[in-house]
Amino acid sequence: MLKTMLRRAGKFAAIAAAGLVMSAQAAEPIKIGSFLSVTGPASFLGDPELKTLEMYVEKINESGGVLGRPLELIHYDDVGNASSARNFASRLIRSDRVDIIVGGSTTGATMAAVPLVEQAKIPFISLAGAVVITTPVKEWVFKTPQSDRMAAERILSDMKERGITKIGLISGTDGFGASGRTQTLEVAKELGVEILADVTYSGSDTDMTAQLTNIRNTQGVEGVLNFGFGQGPAIVTRNYAQLGIKLPFYQSHGVASDGFLDLAGASAEGLRLPASPLLVPDSLPEDDPQKEVVQSYKAEYEARWNAKVSTFGAYAYDGLMLAVKAIEAAGSTEPEAVRKALENIQGHVGVTGEFNMSPEDHNGLKADSFRILEVQNGAWKLIN
């Protein structure tokens, strides 16, 4: 009884306060919430993502904010743990009362937050890749990276073009590798590619020679694909070279960064992977619509942080820009209006690709937003 009364009094006070605030809303910041894996095993995702968000929120505020209101970034580090991610999402939604969430470095973190987001009806732009995030479509959930399924499609079709139809697959047992493996197996069936060997390694393994020996000794293998992220694929690449395997070698977009080239060194020579054009900004043709945005993001990031730009930071860039665009189009931070606006974004050119959202597609990217790159003389070379 007392509780109900208190609650009602609270509600009344809140309404009164809201009325007062209305007039002062011009200065009220727009709250952008984020939970990212800034430390822990997925820190190579979360770290550049946070740096990107911090930097561009600053930049946007310097140039007057959005709708005349400054942006306020509230961010937490989920250390790559899905339970922490869920708790921080809960804090962002319920305690910090953010207007939109741009975050979720890994698929596990994203999916753990989804039930809260759907219930609270807050627009959520995820920075994680797996196809389950937006397929089936969830009303309030969007994502900026291409899905792993697109990566598998892109890789396997490139293989087929080179006449490779029987392959060995080696993948990580982490979320990225496992989801990539599942998608590769499905896409392979559709494209008529045979997977003759299918082995895995765990994220903390320090030597994958045994698994690669297994693939090498499988009769008929014409090419090898490694789906994984972190340092694992770099070790795979070095072991691959040490074992003297001469078959064409593919990596996934999970290692699309210059850091990977530093780790793998000369062993990476000749391998191919699908990536956003961020790694080869200068080899894009002049008429490529992405050229300008890619070049400026790379230049700005590297100038600000004195560190190499990575594909993953670009996911956060695109996420933030989509959020800003949607809020501008909606003319307010009213969640449903922002959600609708996000869903209707067409032809938005980002670093990752061109986004064409729709009620049926909350990712909005096509497989061809991935470019196939090859390592030549220790540097990325655009193949197509």
């Binding site: 430390t39 822990g40 095993p41 820190s43 190579f44 770290d47 047992t173 082995v199 895995t200 390694y201 765990s202 903390s204 320090t206 030597d207 020679t209 045994a210 698994q211 020996t213 297994n214 000794n217 972190g230 340092q231 770099a234 070790i235 040490q242 074992l243 003297g244 850091g259 530093d262 780790l263 060194g265």
Partner: protein, 291 residues
């Protein structure tokens, strides 16, 4: 067929030698204090990371390695002096939690100082792999095995030929009696931490060219070292070496022949099998409890 087997064996022995060195570190501290030192993996990380960062500053490799190992040794002493010694009244379990706190702290510092990226350390000698009967051996593997063997022999001599070594051994057998014959047990404990830090950091340095190195490399390798020590029978030096090599080889064979998904599960099942059938571990001593 044979070349395949040989390949798995090479892989297993190399990583197994690393596990063995870490397991020896666990064993030393366990014998001196009955503490399972969960910061053991961090010594390994310090070895690799300090070497890499010193080399990046232009310090020659050999000097960088020596400095890194010394740094780890100092850290071992600090850990004992400032974290373990002040809490000497505490339960063993409390001491174990202190080492967990220490490992998180050291890892956090390393992340602040050195960042979160993985780093490359060049091979000590040629990058060209060696081919034997169709199997391939990374030249760095020879370094891992050679230095591992030297350390093990050195340890044996240390414990059987030097007064300090004998003092450590005596303390591990009976703390009270050791104190009565005039051994300063706190000093012995400090030495045990230092020596095991040295072992760990050397392991970290020699294996870094194979595994890369980063602020968090110590977590899993440290744990595997503990598993190796458990298989060998916690407290037994021979057990630590055999347990380490066995763990490495079983992992590699399991990945090659059985299932790469479950190779870690096979390694952990080994602990259970050993505990069920050889309850004191492969080489664990029979302990009589005093009433």
């Amino acid at each position: 067929m044979f070349s395949e087997f040989l390949q798995y064996l090479f892989t297993g022995i190399t990583i197994g030698a690393t596990y063995a060195l870490i397991a020896l570190g666990f064993t030393l501290i366990y014998n001196a204090s009955h503490v399972i030192n969960f910061a053991q993996g961090e010594f390994l990380m310090i070895g690799g990371m300090a070497t890499v960062s010193l080399m990046a500053m232009g310090v020659p490799m050999l000097l960088a390695i020596i400095l890194a190992v010394v740094l780890a040794g100092v850290l071992g002493i600090l850990l004992q002096r400032f974290a373990i010694a002040p809490a000497k009244q505490a339960d063993v379990v409390t001491l174990i939690i202190i080492t967990i706190g220490a490992s998180i702290f050291i890892r956090g510092l390393a992340q602040l100082v050195w960042g979160k990226e993985y780093h490359v350390m060049p091979n000590f000698s040629s990058d060209e792999p060696i081919r034997i009967f169709g199997a391939v051996l990374n030249s760095q593997s020879l370094w891992v095995l050679g230095i591992g063997a030297i350390l093990v022999v050195g340890l044996v001599l240390f414990f059987t030929r030097t007064l300090i070594g004998k003092a450590i051994l005596a303390t591990s057998m009976n703390k009270e009696a050791a104190r009565l014959v005039g051994i300063r047990t706190q000093l012995v404990l400090m030495l045990a931490f230092m020596v095991s830090a040295l072992l760990g950091s050397v392991a970290g340095v020699v294996v870094a060219p194979i595994t890369f190195t980063s602020y968090d490399i110590g977590i899993m390798l440290g744990l595997k070292g503990f598993v190796a020590a458990a298989i060998g029978g916690l407290g037994s030096g021979v057990g630590a070496v055999v347990g380490g090599l066995l763990l490495g080889v079983v992992e590699a064979m399991a990945a090659g022949y059985i299932s790469s998904d479950y190779k870690d599960a096979v390694a952990f099942s080994m602990i259970l099998v050993v505990l069920f059938f050889m309850p004191r571990g492969l080489f664990g001593a029979k302990v009589v409890e005093r009433v």
